[in-house]
């Protein structure tokens, strides 16, 4: 039985989290993400889950990491300023391979900026916000249904790759109401336990909690099972012991952490192409602007212009091959985003790899309003 609901994006996200098996939420209220927390405060106790309102966002992400090691699927939600506060612990989650989900409902910045208005201003913060080298996974919903679906996807990716996964939403999607379908059963990725029991290990055959198999992803036991796992944010060896001054140990660990994402890029990445086969001009977008882009591209086709669209579901890892393919065939790539140019830099980088480089254009917009389809269409006409 499929259930139909008419809800805001943030509410859809909370429903998706429960479906995906999330049983722990810790957060700090911040506009425009607060409804995610409010709904989970209501839902979680009904499913044996726990909700904690923490003193700040740093505490929230800390508690989520702790809860993940206790054996729960755990999540927090926030917006730009709170996301900035979480950055150090996001790096901790990467180096300790802690699965969790962070919902970032983006608002206008910098600083306190526009709390109630939409933006896609965190796209590079998602990528590079924490220090050091790491490969984040971020997914951007462009409808309320996708906010539900992508929340489940985020939990599954977090478990599969043992990483923090970020849902990069925006205020438009967070607060927009649409009908969604909640299926009775959804596909769930459960956490993988080590094959051996703790008592099968001894001094000559020690348990190696951070030893990865061929897939670069170690299985993960929760605390309290007798595995005695030392978890540290310091560079560590396969036992989990600090090994922070050896350049080789650091290179080995951090390379593996990056490669487990990069080597699976094609499995993680998701894009949707429409009218791209014969297109001279391809419009690239993600999140809420996708909706205006679709209309603009359809209108352009009606007027006989050879225009296509690429909708990026996963801005990180960046869909390099898919954009490169577009760059090989189209004369113009247009990026539509609610900032003054962030993902466009990635598109420019990839377009530079094409044999015949297309021109890369940006249609930026800040201030909190969505691009109107005719604004995009008139830019398309100017360019193509």
């Amino acid at each position: 039985m499929t259930e139909e609901l008419f809800v805001q994006g943030n509410e859809a996200c909370a429903h998706g989290a429960i479906k995906a098996g999330c049983r722990f939420f810790a957060g700090y209220p911040i506009t425009p993400s607060t409804e995610v927390a409010e709904d989970l405060a209501a839902f979680l106790p009904r499913y044996g889950g726990s909700f904690l309102q923490m003193e700040d966002e740093i505490a929230a992400i800390g508690a989520v990491i702790g809860a993940s090691w206790s054996g729960l699927k755990a999540m927090t939600s926030t917006s730009g300023p709170g996301f900035s506060l979480m950055q150090e612990n996001i790096g901790y989650a990467h180096i300790t391979e802690t699965p969790l989900v962070i919902v970032d409902v983006q608002r206008g910045g910098p600083s306190t900026g526009q709390p109630t208005m939409a933006s896609q201003g965190d796209m590079m913060q998602l990528r590079w916000g924490s220090h050091g080298d790491y490969e984040p996974i971020a997914i951007s919903p462009s409808s309320v249904q996708e906010f539900f679906d992508f929340t489940i996807k985020a939990f599954n990716l977090a478990e599969e790759y043992r990483v923090p996964v970020i849902i990069a939403a925006d205020e438009v999607i967070g607060h927009m109401r649409e009908k969604i379908n909640i299926p009775d059963k959804v596909e769930i990725k459960k956490r993988v336990m080590p094959k051996e029991k703790p008592e099968q290990f001894d001094i000559s055959n020690p348990y190696l909690p951070f030893k990865a198999g061929d897939n670069e992803i170690p299985p993960m036991a929760p605390f309290g099972e007798g595995y005695n796992i030392p978890v540290t944010g310091l560079t560590h060896d396969e036992r989990g012991y600090p090994d922070s001054s050896d350049p080789i140990a650091h290179t080995k660990l951090v390379s593996r952490l990056c490669n487990k994402i990069l080597n699976n890029r094609e499995k993680i990445v998701s894009v949707h192409e429409s009218f791209c086969d014969d297109a001279d001009t391809i419009v690239i977008s993600y999140g809420a602007p996708v909706r205006s882009v679709f209309t603009a591209v359809q209108n352009a086709r009606e007027e006989g212009l050879k225009v296509g669209s690429i909708k990026i579901d996963t801005p990180w890892p960046f869909p390099e091959n898919q954009i490169l393919k577009a760059a090989e065939t189209a004369k113009n790539l247009i990026v539509v985003e609610m900032n003054l140019g962030q993902i466009v830099h990635e598109v420019e980088r990839v377009a530079g790899l094409a044999d015949e480089r297309p021109d890369v254009h940006l249609i930026p917009k800040i201030g909190g309003e969505l691009h109107k389809p005719n604004e995009i269409l008139s830019e398309i006409k100017k360019i193509s």
Binding site: I18, K19, A20, G21, R23, F24, A26, P45, R46, Y47, G48, G49, S50, F51, L52, M54, E55, D56, I58, A59, A60, I61, G62, A63, V64, I65, G66, A67, S68, W69, S70, G71, L72, K73, A74, N89, Y92, P99, E159, D184, K185, I188, K190, R191, M193, P206, P222, F223, G224, E225, G226, Y227, N228, I229, P230, V231, T232, G233, Y241, P242
Partner: protein, 280 residues
Amino acid sequence: MKYLRKDRLPNIFCAGCGNGIALNTFFKGMESAEIDFDTLSLVSGIGCSSRIPGYVKCDSLHTTHGRAITFASGLKVGNPDLNVVVFTGDGDAASIGGNHLIHGARKNINITVICVNNNIYGMTGGQISPTSPEGSFGTTAPYGSRDKPFNLAELVAAAGASFVSRWTTAHPLQLSNSIKKALLNPGFSFVEVISQCPTYYGRKNKLRSPVDMINAFKENSVNIRKANKMSDEELAGKLIVGEFVNNPRKELTENVCDLSVEQCGRSLAIKSAYLDNFDD
């Protein structure tokens, strides 16, 4: 030794450091409280004393600077069967982590915080901390500290912790007894261990050897029961030790469990990330 990761020894602590006494008294307190070693989870932040959990053969989280209590909160609420203990220092707990310390105490979450207070930042090389006495010297206070220090036990007591005590490394028996009580207290327990750092604090403050420092602790400490009858003048320069709060009351994790029972008829869904099916 049976609790230690022998393959990690020797440890990184300086000769004469108080961390050894803190760890030893913790094991004693843990044994007399009859804590099941498999349920023990140690959490720490950054600093010398935060390195302690890494040497103990149990589950441990060595986290980011100041945030240990937040990780511990998630761990405890995520699985209330765990015995969660935080090792922290004065800089970690009271400076960068001060907010988490008072909120953990306010919520009275059932974790035990052991704060090894040596009045200085050891790991970064001897800068002053929020507990450095006025006039004491550190690399960032070359003319003597002008800052007012925190009285940690009183701060945490005021914030609402249900067990608070303070002893020094010169009081190992009282300390292990206090740790036992803290582990058994169903609520936020805070044990402050006044400890010596001969390498940085001692060297800069004319207490060059660990023995000098421990003797100073012995000479200057006054039990809180006696201190309550003394005047401010008599107490000047004295170190008040003893049990500040012992007031068990309902704690956060129990409240969260109760709500779950009320709303879905069962206690918390612990370790549910490993289940195939979540539908109720």
